[in-house]
Symmetry: C2
Subunit: 259 residues, 2 copies
């Protein structure tokens, strides 16, 4: 079973939390792939460099200058820091972005409706190249950047990249996708940390969504997760990595197409 | 024959010059490896971020903040920009630093004499991992950063990395090392662009050095080049990549252990 783990930016911003995460991740049996988000470091660096952060409807616009910052922070600082930490734990990490080995080909998002700048929508994952790296015994660590095949790097949502990578590899082996999350899982009651669903079927999700009990911010992540299951990924879990290496016992919400 | 190419920072700073270089590099028959330097972009970014560039005897001191800038610029901006350009030319580039796949293990330089900060001296190249990547048909593009195996990234001279990589791979195949240079080669007379040596033997070099006709700045590069020949690298050339793909006809100075 291949384990694909997506981790958000927040954990990565704190050096100590990043090390703890790496210790947990290193214990997951191989083969495995890590996809990391960006986080606020890019915003901080952009501010220091005098690059303005533009937002449209809560989404960041990737200007040319902001793309440079994203490449520096995601593919440079964050990616290599994780790799160095994993290497110290004897995990044979290899830090990459979507341009490397043509791993993730994307298309610049059309600008008719809204111009998000240098943002890419995934067109094709080079699953064969990823599989070759896994066969070498290495652990790809992937920054959320793609390319258009014509020399242009593009900014792409890390959740999307994780799902696309996970589903592209189902031809080779069984795949489990884990979205590491600050909560214990998808909460039924946002006020109660312990109210997480251990499992959430698609039917349940639809009912909960209609009842308004799913937090708005979770909806794209859950839609994405269920779509990934539909594409043949065996398990999608939203939660926290276990302290020991037993993923079967990890705390979180397991998505299920049907109960 | 494996071709290892080292390119300095200057060419990389200009987008057009970088593209032209990539076009030439892409035409070199595989297997090949590119090692790139840092260049002044790091200094520019550091200035904008308010990170001071400290120099001791003409050498940059790598403070914690400067190391972060180096990682962002070398492993992020410069490395991924080259990779995206090479991918657009159908060259299956994979951008890495010395921490990835434990490619280049280094040791922090001792601070007794002078404290250069987070600078690493190369201890071991993972030639087997590089060879595996070459066997996949990929072209490693390597940023001048190493790691200590304990989670610490280190700044390392790109010429040294190129030499260490070239000599580490001689067990697998014949290796040619090219230092791409702004001049046509090693000049006998620095005032005359066309006065380059077509070949330079170690004996000639010693004689020219004593006569004071070798430019001071070239001496570490040449010492490095001759040492690399002694370690079994077949050819070391300092010069310019050819416009067509015929390396045999490239303009430059070929170093020779003896004439």
């Amino acid at each position: 079973m291949l384990t694909v783990v997506k981790i958000g930016g927040k954990i990565l911003e704190d050096a100590q939390a990043q090390k703890e995460f790496c210790t947990q991740f290193a214990q997951i049996p191989s083969p495995k792939i890590l996809i990391h988000g960006g986080g606020r470091t890019a915003t901080t660096i952009a501010e220091k460099l005098g690059v303005e952060t533009q937002m449209i409807e809560g989404r960041r616009v990737t200007s040319t200058e902001m793309l440079e910052v994203a490449v520096m922070v995601y593919a440079g600082l964050t990616n290599k820091s994780i790799v160095a930490n994993l290497q110290a734990l004897k995990c044979q990490a290899i830090g990459l972005c979507g341009a490397d080995l043509d791993l993730i080909r994307a298309e610049k998002r059309p600008t008719e409706a809204t111009n998000y700048g240098w943002v890419g929508d995934v067109k094709k994952v080079n699953a064969q190249a990823l599989q070759s790296l896994l066969n070498l015994g290495s652990t790809p660590v992937i920054a959320p950047l793609t390319h258009d095949g014509k020399g242009q790097l593009l900014n792409t949502n890390a959740d999307t990249i994780a799902s696309e990578i996970a589903s592209s590899l189902t031809d080779y082996e069984e795949v489990r996708l884990i979205f590491v999350f600050e909560k214990k899982g998808v909460l039924e009651n946002i006020e109660d940390e312990n109210s997480y669903f251990e499992t959430l079927s698609y039917a349940q999700y639809q009912a909960q969504k209609q009842a308004g009990s799913i937090h708005e911010g979770m909806i794209p992540k859950l839609d994405n997760g269920f779509a990934t299951l539909q594409k043949g990924v065996k398990e999608v879990i939203i939660g926290q990595l276990p302290k020991d290496n037993d993923i079967e016992k990890m705390i979180g919400t397991r998505l299920e197409l049907s109960v």
